[in-house]
């Protein structure tokens, strides 16, 4: 007779003593070791959202385009017209990537794509959001190279283009890097698949790759701080195989076309345990699962190991009874491993058998989110560093000089800004990703603030972006997160789209740290307010806590916003680049001189603590409405928002494509540096043909929006207030190679 686990066993598996008691009361007995292991992963933060769900529920989830709201399916589902739906989601793979960057990042890409195609949507585009430590350290170089290669090798072979993303380097990510991957897919409305297990007696199949010991307790691993001995957790990192992923994608699409699927879910965190219990819980059914039927890749695996294995590229599907042979023919066509491993029952329990013996017997709803998983209200208090932010004094920061040469000259500082890793081109990264497979990427020849992707067979396109300036969030979690939402929406609007829906990836430190929880709670507040304003419901996403090293240093709070938008006509696509000499340059939005939390302040002047940049949500909204209208009037030649590096960087970036310069004049109220490099929000640079000046100014004049003609596209140099800053080509040289110089 196996000895029953004790509260100490539970604690060693990461459960709290009160959770052990709760488990005993759910089961009406003490769980055996397998059952306890199941609870430990399903009740981990990663699967249960126990420390975040209270606040996540406050986010707006309803909207006129929503086909599936947050929590209803594996990913959000939005109506994009013409009988099509867009499924999209972002997810983190931070902890595995910090230990084994190549496989950690690769399997992150695999996992998020499975979430999309398990719904019956064929992925058409991928994005990612990456955070690394100081670019000059060997650790960062190793991690960045590994992560980028991992994402590239997986995504490239899988054959879905990577069309957008963001990369930041900041010291706070030295130990805990962030790897967030997003996938976007297209399905037919009414022909999507749910993660359900209906119909007592229906067969349950596993298909895809074999099951091994890799990744056991990965979900629990993702739910603790990374300590010195984290590398010893290496078996908790899974290994990816994009070739198999491609095969299960095609097989899944054929199963869908055959119309024989009852429900399907991919196997990610907590493997068979998670998919069987969640699907059963959703349908209020149960399952009998025969673990000895699971195709294995190694001998002598124990029942609990099979249950909790996180081997990649596996799917669980409930088929219509009697249609098994059709499915098996598809599996054989694609040379996949498969087996019927169980049946749907009416017991409401998931029962796992090994060679006829019952190994675990648990009510499905006790394991699934929304059931009787624990829900905690955590305490928060203002973090101590806020005091330092309040004591920021701009008068202590010297301004730049309006000259061409000298360490503190406008031109020299501009060159330095151009080379900052958070501003310079991420070409070294994205050229390692196949961005053009699938022949949908409209942004290759016409770069824009968001990636524009064609919806084939229609005259519409999608606009896709991921955004989060976590320095702003660190400075003010509520305002910073609202800015992240606003910037994502602004990028979509500037590219010609209408913001439609949001997926989020919430990367924070340890939720038991009251300061971290303050950041989390207030970030959600900011997201709620901004998403409500822009009518972009949050369709789902992922929470990643414990991005904190054992010495107590948490990452900047990083609530990454993945947003999709719709171009009701593909021809609305608006590039960011200057197109014609002589076009008029307008600055739309309020010209505020604000250096707070700018790259200039933190990286050039080394000021770590300052408030979030100037931001007014209503003005932002008005700005976006104005840009939308102007684009739909057909008179906007280019549009680019002011982001990191402010006005100067935006001007320069607009010139790169055609090596066009600009001659502008701008009022300097107080400071030259704030005028050029400040990151006050809600500002966009657009260009129009001079013939449209009157139409444009009349249109803007009828709106409540600040706008000013600051100059023209002229020559191949940048001239600001009569000071010659130099050739666009020279800045492009710096901009293009700064990161490669560091990482190669």
């Amino acid at each position: 007779m196996e000895k029953l686990p004790t509260v100490q066993t539970a604690q060693s598996l990461g459960l709290l003593p009160e959770e052990f008691e709760q488990i005993q009361s759910i089961l009406g007995r003490t769980p055996n070791f397998t059952e306890l292991s199941i609870f430990s992963v399903m009740w981990s933060e990663h699967c249960s959202y126990k420390n975040s769900i209270v606040w996540l529920k406050t986010l707006p989830k309803k909207g006129k385009f929503m086909l599936a709201e947050a929590g209803e399916e594996n990913a959000g589902l939005v109506d994009i017209g013409d009988g099509l739906a867009c499924a999209f989601k972002i997810e983190s793979h931070n902890h595995p990537s910090a230990i084994e960057p190549y496989q950690g990042a690769a399997t992150g890409v695999g996992g998020i794509n499975r979430d999309i195609f398990s719904m019956g949507a064929r992925p058409i585009a991928q994005l990612n959001s990456l955070r690394f430590g100081n670019i000059d350290t060997d650790r960062t170089k190793w991690l960045a190279k590994g992560v980028v290669k991992g994402i590239g090798d997986y995504g490239n072979a899988f054959g879905i283009p990577t069309v957008g993303g963001e990369v930041y380097f900041d010291d706070c990510y030295e130990t805990n890097i962030l790897v967030n991957a997003m996938s976007v897919g297209i399905a037919q409305v009414g022909k999507t698949i749910s993660a359900i297990a209906e119909g007592v007696g229906n067969p349950v199949y596993i298909f895809g790759s074999t099951t091994g010991k890799d990744g056991i307790h990965g979900a629990a691993f993702a739910s603790k701080d990374i300590g010195e001995n984290a590398a010893e957790d290496l078996p908790a990192v899974q290994v990816g195989d994009p070739f198999f992923e491609k095969l299960i994608l095609e097989a899944s699409m054929e199963l869908l076309d055959a119309g024989i699927i009852v429900g399907m879910q991919d196997m990610g965190a907590a493997g068979i345990t998670c998919s069987t219990s969640e699907m059963s819980a959703k349908s209020e059914t149960g399952m009998d699962i025969w673990l000895d039927k699971v195709p294995l890749r190694q001998a002598n695996m124990k029942g609990w190991e099979i249950l909790l294995s996180e081997s990649q590229e596996r799917m669980l599907v409930v088929l219509q009874k009697g249609k098994e042979s059709i499915a098996e023919e598809i599996f054989r066509k694609w040379d996949l491993e498969f087996a019927q491993i169980g049946v749907v029952t009416d017991t409401k329990n998931v029962k796992y058998y090994m060679n006829g013996e019952l190994e675990a017997d648990i009510p499905a709803e006790a394991l699934a989110l929304g059931g009787s998983t624990p829900v905690y209200h955590r305490e928060w208090e203002e973090p101590a560093y806020f005091e330092k932010i309040r004591s920021f004094d701009l008068s202590q920061v010297k301004d730049i000089e309006l000259t061409q040469s000298g360490d503190n000259s406008a031109v020299e500082i501009s060159r330095k800004i151009t080379a900052l890793p958070n501003i310079a081109s991420k070409k070294w990264v994205y050229e390692q990703y196949d961005s053009m497979v699938g022949t949908v990427n409209q942004s290759t020849q016409k770069p824009s603030d968001a990636a524009i992707v064609k919806i084939k067979g229609t005259n519409r396109s999608l606009a896709l972006t991921v955004d989060c300036n976590s320095r702003y969030v660190y400075s003010n979690p509520e305002v910073g997160t609202a800015i992240a939402v606003a910037e994502a929406a602004r990028n979509i609007v500037c590219s010609g789209g209408i913001p439609t829906g949001v997926t989020n990836c919430l990367n924070f430190g340890n939720p038991y740290d009251k300061g971290v929880y303050y950041q989390f709670k207030h970030a959600i507040d900011g997201m709620r307010i901004a998403c409500t304003k822009f009518e972009t419901p949050v369709t789902g996403g992922n929470v990643s806590f414990y991005n904190q090293s054992s010495d107590g240093i948490a990452v900047y709070p990083t609530p990454t916003i993945g947003m999709i938008g719709l171009l009701e006509d593909s021809s609305l696509q608006t590039g960011l680049s200057f197109q014609n000499q002589g076009d008029l340059i307008y600055l739309i939005g309020e010209q505020m001189e604000c250096l707070n939390s700018s790259q200039y302040l933190s990286k050039i002047r080394n000021v770590e603590f300052s408030p979030a940049p100037y931001f007014n949500l209503d003005k932002e909204f008005d700005l976006q409405e104005a840009i939308k209208k102007a684009i739909r009037e057909g008179i906007v030649v280019s549009a680019h928002d002011l982001a990191e590096g402010g006005l100067f960087v935006a001007l320069m970036e607009k010139g790169f494509l055609n090596n066009f310069g600009a001659n502008i004049k701008i009022d300097i109220k107080n400071r030259m540096d704030a005028t050029l490099f400040g990151e006050a929000q809600s500002r966009v640079l657009i260009t129009i043909n001079p013939n449209h000046k009157e139409t444009f100014e009349t249109l803007m004049g009828n709106l409540t929006i600040d706008f000013q003609n600051i100059g023209i596209v002229e020559g191949s140099s940048i001239i600001i207030n009569d000071l010659e800053f130099g050739k666009v080509q020279d800045y492009k040289e710096i901009y293009s190679h700064a990161i490669a110089k560091k990482l190669n």
Partner: protein, 226 residues
């Protein structure tokens, strides 16, 4: 004329190619499955890009052993048209239908970007309708695209007009800087001596539709069917 596109497990440019060729020729493009040997009377066979069988050994090394390739080789040897793009080019070299090999890029990284190609003659199927003074903007996306062959093979290729495209600058100059992967003699695409088997690393099918705002690839594909 009947066009067939071979689908290997791990092919990922097959759908792009089927769509593009279908639009271009107004014909129904036939899907040819790797496990079959029947070419379904196709006259023009295309091998698409991707990672056939995962390409874990060496790109194209497993694909050449597939049942369909035995029929494709037979078709080529009888003078039938075969074109391989990217992974398809790698498979043709592995199969011995084209000389040389494709090695890891000299920077050891996967590279995806637009490059420029200069047609090297107007005497071959893929180049006969092209402007040999123009630089065509066509994207690459590969990790193993560095064309390599011994000196004898290279000089044969040059003297037989078998080199179709060389990497060049935007202005059309064949320079070291414009060579993205270290290919010998900047070679981007070749054909066999008879001219019926064509291989190229860049992807003309990725720049042949209006919505992508670059249709330089269309000219190359059109040249084949003209």
């Amino acid at each position: 004329m009947k066009i067939g596109v071979v689908i290997f497990p791990g092919s990922n440019c097959d759908r792009d190619l089927i769509e593009t060729l279908g639009d271009l020729t107004g014909t129904q493009v036939i899907e040819l499955w790797h496990k079959d040997t029947d070419l379904k009377e196709c006259t023009h066979i295309f091998l698409p890009g991707g990672f056939s069988y995962g390409d874990y050994l060496r790109s194209g090394a497993i694909a050449k052993l597939s049942p369909i390739m035995q029929s494709v080789i037979e078709h080529a040897n009888k003078g039938g048209f075969v074109m391989g793009i990217c992974n398809g080019f790698q498979i043709l070299c592995e199969s011995g239908l084209l000389p040389g090999a494709l090695l890891h890029n000299n920077n050891l990284k996967f590279i995806c970007k637009d490059v420029f190609l200069k047609p090297q003659n107007n005497s071959q199927l893929a180049t006969k309708n092209l402007d040999s003074t123009k630089a065509y903007k066509i994207p690459i996306a590969h990790g193993e695209g560095r064309y390599y062959a011994d000196d004898k093979t290279l000089s044969d290729l040059e003297s037989n007009n078998q080199i179709l495209f060389k990497y060049c600058s935007q202005e059309g100059n064949i320079t070291e800087e414009s060579n993205p992967n270290g290919a010998l003699n900047n070679i981007a695409g070749i054909c066999n001596k008879q001219g019926n088997v064509i291989g190229m690393m860049p992807h003309p099918e990725r720049c042949a539709t209006e919505h992508l705002l670059n249709i330089d690839g269309k000219a190359i594909l059109q040249s084949i069917f003209a």
